[in-house]
Each structure stands twice: as structure tokens, then as C-alpha cells.
């Protein structure tokens, strides 16, 4: 099955797209503020991160937080609190800026000067698939040496580019790579 999956889950298989699992793992590795934005503490931490320097302010504006400085000051002082759509904007802007700031260091650790990082591919869950349609899909590992395209797509939040970059890597698994387009988990560390 060397191609992309046509209709995933038609027979009951469960899993997530490999690229999605990679993005999730990269987010975990990037870390960040754990307290949710809906609490005062989490909101203030994010606002401080986004407004500490002029550079950070510009990055936040570019990431979609287009409110006036006056509003920001009011939020920071506690006089006003942001509306629900603005909370979402703060969260997305924080994610984007954080990814952008971390990407350089993450990339260095993943590429490891060309030695790359070992990636584990945990196959999709077939427990709900009728027996005759189940296939033997084993646990595989892969050493990914070129993370540049993956990390760039993840930083920009471009899901299609991330998927393409990830597919470029998993074709190295051989003719079976299509079985690993959807997985339960992609494990790697940086």
C-alpha cells in the first residue's frame, strides 16, 4: 500500500495523521505556560510574554493580536478583561510567538549536527476493525535527519506543508509507508 490513504476509518481503524502527532509532540517539547488563558494568572503570563519588548509586540501584532496599546495596558492593569474572542486571539498569538522563538533551538537539537533523531511510529489502532480486514502493521522506528522543513511548517502553522514534509520523511520506511500515514502516536525527544 504505497499511496496515501483514501478514506481513513472506513472499516473502523482509529488514529491521527502522523503530521498531526508530530505537531503535537513538537508543541509538548516547546513547552510554555501551562495555566489556561481563562485564569487571571495564565492571561497575565501570556500578556507579559507578548508585550515585554518592542520585538515581541511586533510579533504579537503579526500573529493576529491587533488591539491598541491602550487596551493592552488596561488588560495588564486589570481594569478591563478581554472578551472571549480576544482571549482566543491572545492564546493563538502566544502559541505562534512561542513556536517562533523556540524553533531555532528545537531544530538544532533535532538535527543534532546531522545525526538526526530516532522517531518511533506506533501503528494505528485496529481493535474495532472486522477480523478479515485487519492487517499486520508493526511498530517501526526511523531516524529523521532533516527536520528543517518539518519545523518550518510547524512554526508557520501550515498543516498542509507539515503533512508534505512529514510524508517526505516517512517514505524512507519503504513500500509500506502508506500504513504509517495514520498512527496512534509518534514518539521522539529533543
Amino acid at each position: 500500500m504505497p499511496q496515501h490513504t483514501g478514506e481513513f476509518g472506513a472499516y473502523g481503524a482509529r488514529g491521527v495523521k502522523g503530521s498531526e502527532a508530530v505537531a503535537r509532540q513538537l508543541d509538548t517539547l516547546a513547552g510554555g505556560i501551562a495555566t489556561p488563558v481563562t485564569t487571571r494568572r495564565g492571561l497575565l503570563a501570556r500578556l507579559h510574554y507578548l508585550t515585554r519588548t518592542e520585538h515581541a509586540r511586533a510579533a504579537a501584532r503579526e500573529a493576529g493580536l491587533t488591539v491598541t496599546d491602550r487596551t493592552l495596558r488596561a488588560w495588564l492593569a486589570g481594569g478591563r478583561s478581554p472578551s472571549r474572542p480576544n482571549l482566543e486571539r491572545i492564546e493563538t498569538a502566544y502559541r505562534a510567538v512561542r513556536r517562533h522563538n523556540v524553533a531555532r533551538y528545537l531544530l538544532g537539537r533535532l538535527n543534532r549536527e546531522g545525526r538526526g533523531t530516532r522517531v518511533e511510529l506506533h501503528p494505528l489502532n485496529q481493535s474495532q476493525v472486522p477480523r478479515p480486514r485487519q492487517r499486520f502493521v508493526e511498530f517501526r522506528t526511523l531516524n529523521v535527519r532533516h527536520w528543517d522543513a518539518i519545523v518550518r511548517a510547524w512554526t508557520e502553522g501550515d498543516l498542509q506543508a507539515l503533512d508534505d514534509a512529514w510524508t517526505d520523511q516517512i517514505v524512507d520506511l519503504g513500500s509500506q509507508w502508506g500504513q504509517y500515514e495514520y498512527v496512534t502516536n509518534v514518539g521522539f525527544a529533543a
Binding site: 496512534t184 502516536n185 514518539g187 525527544a189
Partner: protein, 498 residues
């Protein structure tokens, strides 16, 4: 008829195993030469515990058996020489003559010597027990198959008469003693880098213990049957609920003190179990990703974490609860070693409690051997270092296994392995091992006073007949002794006075 030739060659090659003296004599031979098990083990290329096993009655086989027989034979001759050199009527302990031994040659007049170990005959290539003027050969022409197997010398492809053990290395082979010992090399390199400054070298080695342990683990898993799955999907019960919080697994750490002692003055000994986490690396570990199941009995071929309702414990006055001191009632998540301990104690042999009730489980196919080579490598390095008095290696090995266990979960200090389930299982195994030691003490008539932490057991009574004292992993050492109680009852004070 190549088949028959092959069979003939096989029969010619097969030879009977070298006879060994009985186990008790093996030990006395070694001890009379003032050699330690570790020294002998190092010379033979095996672990000290293996030599201990041979002296306790196990028999080696194959190549090692020849080497061991050679050692014993050599030890016997050496002792016999010593005994004859001594003037007085000192009966040598190994005077009884064995058939085929060095003194039993019928051709003593010639330049004939008997060999301790069979060596290939220069004429036919088959093992011979004698040498003439330095050339190993058969004395009886009927034994020597020169005419039939004359081409065997060409087959060996080398002129050397002895054999060396070789192991495969990549596409080539190399001799076995060349194979690297990463622990020894690391210690030697650190000592050289710090110009023999022991403290600085120890600090440097401890600082790099985690990556070194991971490298050692990779090395010991090479060619293994199972891959180490380092980043599986982790169920929510094993995830930390907050950044600084803990997950929902109960590791059953014992923290128990006996509620009351008999009146009088007692001498309590606090015993420390050596290398508790090192021994606990031998436990049933789940290999792959944990899978959920509910409403099933316990499957011995799987391991993981289980939601159970624990049985009531009625022996709290004399023995700790195998679940530790849990105040909260109701079901709880326990690990495989705790569950196996409870199942064992509920069985007919112990009958100490009811069986636990299993509600749901996250398990995977399990093996006890996943970390076995890793554990044995560390244990042997530790034993060797203790035998040689090498405290740097002892500290280094200790840092390796303890940090390996404590960082194999969600730790930022070790990102190569993300197995919180293994971490919990190994810790629980250490606690279960401590519980079994407490039970053993109780069964042997000692009074267990406290069981706490990973490796601490306080007892009253003559504990040396129950636990051997020492620094090995199967031995205990004394941490502290103290007296408790007051002299109201002189009879009791006399009883426990020693």
C-alpha cells in the same frame, strides 16, 4: 557419501566433558590459594556469581568448563607442590590421584609431560592429553587418526595450537577479551582526566551517569528479541495531573512501624538492603504500548497498572500492609509487582488476605528479561569494584542505576526514555522485595519493628542467621543499632540484651 563423512567428523569432534572435582573441593582449592571469586571470575571471563554457583553445585559446560577445569587442575598441582615443599607431615588436601592427572603418565622416563587441558595433536589435530618435547600428541597410535584426518591442519588455517575465544563483531570476528567494557573504560578515562583525583573523577562520572546508562542500555539490547519502546502512548492515569503534581499510581511504598513491643529493653538493628533498585530492575515490564482491558482476570504474561479494590489487612500488629500506609479507602491504581504480591499472599501457601478485586487494567505483553543484561552488567561491575575496593566505580554504578530509574519517566534530565509505567513498576518491585524480606524475618522468628522507604528494615533478635551481612546485592548491611524501652522487667532485658 558425504553424509557419512559428516557424521564421522561429528563423532570425531565430539568428546566427553572434562571431569570436575566435587563442589566443596572447588571452593577449598580456590580459598587455599587465597583467591577471591571475583579474581577467578575475571580470569575465566565470567561473573563472580557464576563462580559462586559452580562452587555451590552448578556445573559449567563448553569452553568455560575446560577453562575452569584447567584452573582447578592448576590449583591442585600448585597446592601439591607447596605441600611437598613443606618438610613436616602436612597432608596435602588434594593428594588423591585422579586418572589422567599430571602424575599418572605411564611414560615418565621419556620427555613426556601430561597436559592439564587437552590440546590438539600436532599429527592428527584431535585433542591429546600428553606432549612429547613440547609437542602435544597422542601416545597410542590407535588414538591418533593421522592417516584419515591428515588434512585437518590445513582446515584450521593457522599454526597456533591453542584456541582463543572469538565473538562476532560486525562482519568480522574479534577475540572475546577485546570486547569493550564501557564502565571500566569510563572510570579509567575519568581518573586519567582528573590526574587520579578520586573525588573529582567521581563527581564527573556521576554527572554523566544518565547518558552513560542509556548508552549501556542500548549496548545490552543489541541483538535482543524486543526493541525498547521509548515513547509509547501513555494513558491518563500515568500522566501528571499538574506540572508539579503526581499521577494516580500508588506505588505501595512501605512506611510502617510496629504499634507495640513487649515490655523491657530491646536492641533494635536497622538493616539496609544493598542495591534495592538494582535488584528491582528484574521485574515483569510491559514491552509495548499499554492496552486497556476491564473485567478480566489477571494474565501472568502481561504487566502494567491495575485498578483494584485491595483486601483488608489484619496483620498490621506484626507485619506491614503490602499496600503501604494508605489512609484513603476504596479502589486505587496499583502496579504489577504490588498486584502480584497481593495475589501471592492471598494464595494457599500464604493465606494472609483475600484476593484483590481487579476492575480495569492497562497492560502490555511483559518480560522479565528486558533490563536483565543491563542489570547483570551493573551488578557485576559493582561486585568487581567492591572486591577490588574501587569506590569510584561503586559510586558511578550506583548513580547509573538510581538515576536511570528516577528519570525514566517524564523527566527533563532523560528525554530518551519516556516510560513512567516502568518507573512505577521498578519502584514497586523494590518495595515488594522489601516486604518479602520483612516477611522472611517474621517467619524466621525475628521481630520486625519498622519497614520504611525502599531499603530499610528494623528488627529485633539474632538477624545474622536470617540475612547474610555484606555489601553484595543479596546481603544486608547494618545502618544503625539503638535500644528502645525501659528496664522495668529485668527478665525481658536479659533476653534481648545481646
Amino acid at each position: 557419501m558425504t553424509d557419512f563423512e559428516a557424521i564421522d567428523a561429528l563423532l570425531a569432534g565430539a568428546r566427553e566433558e572434562v571431569p570436575l572435582p566435587p563442589p566443596g573441593e572447588r571452593r577449598s582449592l580456590r580459598e587455599e590459594l587465597n583467591l577471591s571469586q571475583a579474581q577467578v571470575a575475571q580470569a575465566l571471563g565470567v561473573g563472580p556469581s557464576t563462580v559462586g554457583g559452580w562452587e555451590a553445585g552448578r556445573d559449567p559446560s563448553g569452553e568455560v568448563r575446560d577453562k575452569y577445569a584447567y584452573f582447578l587442575e592448576g590449583a591442585r598441582t600448585k597446592l601439591a607442590e607447596r605441600a611437598t615443599a613443606r618438610p613436616a607431615g602436612h597432608e596435602p588436601p588434594t593428594a588423591e590421584d585422579e586418572e589422567g592427572g599430571p602424575q599418572a603418565s605411564p611414560h615418565d622416563g621419556d620427555d613426556v609431560e601430561a597436559l592439564h587441558r587437552e590440546q590438539p595433536c600436532v599429527l592428527c589435530g584431535r585433542p591429546a592429553r600428553h606432549q612429547v618435547a613440547g609437542f602435544p600428541q597422542h601416545l597410542d597410535p590407535r588414538e591418533c587418526g593421522t592417516a584419515r584426518t591428515g588434512e585437518s591442519d590445513a582446515r584450521t588455517g593457522s599454526e597456533s595450537v591453542g584456541t582463543v575465544r572469538v565473538v562476532p563483531a560486525g562482519r568480522r570476528v574479534r577475540t572475546a577479551d577485546e570486547s569493550p567494557d564501557p564502565i571500566r573504560e569510563a572510570v579509567a578515562a575519568a581518573l586519567a582526566a582528573h590526574f587520579g583525583d578520586v573525588e573529582a573523577a567521581t563527581a564527573a562520572l556521576v554527572a554523566r551517569a544518565i547518558p552513560d546508562a542509556m548508552a549501556l542500555l542500548d549496548g545490552t539490547r543489541r541483538g535482543g528479541r524486543y526493541d525498547i519502546v521509548a515513547h509509547p502512548w501513555i494513558p491518563d492515569v500515568l500522566r501528571k495531573q499538574t506540572a508539579r503534581g503526581s499521577d494516580r499510581i500508588w506505588e505501595a511504598r512501605p512506611k510502617w512501624a510496629r504499634p507495640e513491643l513487649p515490655t523491657g529493653r530491646h536492641q533494635v538493628t536497622a538493616l539496609d538492603i544493598n542495591g534495592a533498585y538494582l535488584s528491582a530492575l528484574k521485574t515483569h515490564l510491559p514491552i509495548g504500548q499499554l492496552e486497556h482491558s476491564s473485567g478480566f482476570d489477571h494474565d501472568r504474561r502481561r504487566a502494567g497498572v491495575h485498578l483494584i479494590t485491595p483486601p483488608a489487612w489484619e496483620h498490621d500488629a506484626v507485619l506491614p500492609n503490602p499496600l503501604g500506609n494508605r489512609d484513603e479507602p476504596g479502589p486505587l491504581w496499583v502496579t504489577e509487582p504490588t498486584l502480584r504480591l497481593l495475589l501471592r499472599l492471598s494464595g494457599p501457601k500464604y493465606a494472609l488476605c483475600d484476593p484483590p478485586e481487579i476492575h480495569e487494567s492497562f497492560t502490555s505483553g511483559a518480560t522479565e528479561n528486558l533490563l536483565e543484561k543491563f542489570r547483570v552488567a551493573l551488578k557485576e561491575a559493582r561486585e568487581r569494584a567492591i572486591a577490588e575496593g574501587d569506590e569510584v566505580t561503586v559510586e558511578y554504578v550506583k548513580a547509573m542505576y538510581s538515576k536511570f530509574v528516577s528519570t525514566m519517566g517524564e523527566s527533563n534530565y532523560n528525554r530518551e526514555l519516556y516510560r513512567p509505567d516502568w518507573m512505577h513498576l521498578i519502584r514497586s518491585q523494590a518495595f515488594a522485595n522489601l516486604w518479602m524480606k520483612a516477611y522472611k524475618a517474621h517467619e524466621e522468628g525475628l521481630v520486625v519493628v519498622r519497614a520504611m522507604g525502599t531499603d530499610e528494615l528494623h528488627v529485633l533478635g539474632e538477624w545474622r542467621r536470617v540475612f547474610p551481612e555484606g555489601r553484595g546485592v543479596s546481603e544486608v548491611k547494618v545502618k544503625d543499632t539503638y535500644t528502645v524501652g525501659c528496664d522495668t522487667d529485668p527478665v525481658a532485658a536479659d533476653e534481648h540484651g545481646g
